[in-house]
Amino acid sequence: MSSVEIKTKTIEPIRKTFSNIQRRFGDKPASRYQEASYDIAAVTNFHYRPLWDPQHTLNDPTRTVIRMADWHAVSDPRQFYYGTYVQNRAKMQEATEHSYSFCDKRGLLTRLPANVQENLLRYLVPLRHVEMGANMNNSGIAGDCVAGTVAQLHIYQAMDRLGISQYLSRIALMLDENTGVGLTRSKGYWLDDPLWQPLRRLVEDSWVVRDWFELTLVQNLILDGQLYPLMYQQGDQWLADQGANDASMLTEFMRDWFVESNRWIDAMVKTVMTESDANAAQLQAWVDHWVPRVREALAPLAAASVGGAAMNEVHRQFGTRLQKLGLTSPGVEV
């Protein structure tokens, strides 16, 4: 009888990753995030200038006044590329869908008193228009920015905002039992209610900010950084005090999402701040310009709902967040 001998033979791969990733990180196995995100966009040999913006080339780094030696220094601490992003959001959505169907099946919103239902339509649902603005802004940034890592962050942010606006719309549809009356009423508040006009003006003004980095700072840090704590955290408490605790199930996604997305926004701002003094000065100038505007825009809403103390708390917390990033918040003692 012959004996069987089992041998192992190692075959070394000729290369462990793509050449562009190897030049950046060395010849070792790369993560999927690295392979999917770095040096994806073309940077040279553009034959024609785009008809829609002939002053610039395609992927032109001068579409913002912020200068970075390499924009890929801004990367996602969550390491989301398409696959992981979609998986993560599918999981979040599954949990949220469960809450929505539970709420719907048990009629948790429709059994609320009429004035509380009206408060949901007046103070919560109109935020869907803010979300659509955020969706447009982030899509625009994804188009204007350079580097795959930066574009990726913003296009995922844009899709998240579309999702959030749809969830808000579904709250109105749950209240009006799918007739659409609630949506129309809440749009009326957005368009005509004096409480919403300063915020609506701010959102519409943000659509014409040309510098994409200024826009990401205004939208993702300065506006969201104050609006989310005010409307989804303090506002949640305010609604709970009126007996609408059940509505919290429907906005939990927004609170979880806000905490998660702050991680990349803070990382991005820190990276850009530390690149150069000129960048840091420019960011501070934008903060000085936009923070008071956002505060003014939110003030009437806060005064009519959560109250001045809650608004001050939001200011204080946002001031602390800015301070951690190396920025100072105008008018707030931290």
């Binding site: 192992t8 033979k9 190692t10 075959i11 196995p29 993560s31 999927r32 996602d76 601490p77 969550r78 390491q79």
Partner: protein, 90 residues
């Protein structure tokens, strides 16, 4: 006498983050690439920390997720929510 502890992991996308984290926390560890397997050995003690791993992988991470990629270990195990330690104590 030399007393080596070791951990052998499948060579996949998950385990690479783990290898990075282990090498950062255990500068004395020695790494061996074998077919489809990465073996890390070290004198007397190897530690895997949750916070290092979370920083590498960019999300919350449960120490027990590691077990999906483990082929084998050598050493006494001390495990809790924040770390997984292999060591020989005597």
């Amino acid at each position: 006498m030399s007393q080596l502890v070791f951990i052998a992991l499948q060579d996949n996308d998950n385990a690479r983050y783990l290898v990075d984290a282990i090498l950062q926390d255990n500068p004395h560890a020695e790494i061996q690439y074998q077919p489809a397997m990465i073996r890390i050995q070290a004198e007397s003690r190897l530690v895997i920390r949750r916070d290092t791993m979370e920083e590498k992988i960019g999300r919350e991470w449960d120490v027990q997720e590691m077990l999906l990629d483990v082929i084998s270990i050598g050493g006494s195990v001390d495990e809790d929510d924040d770390h997984f330690i292999l060591e020989w104590k005597n």
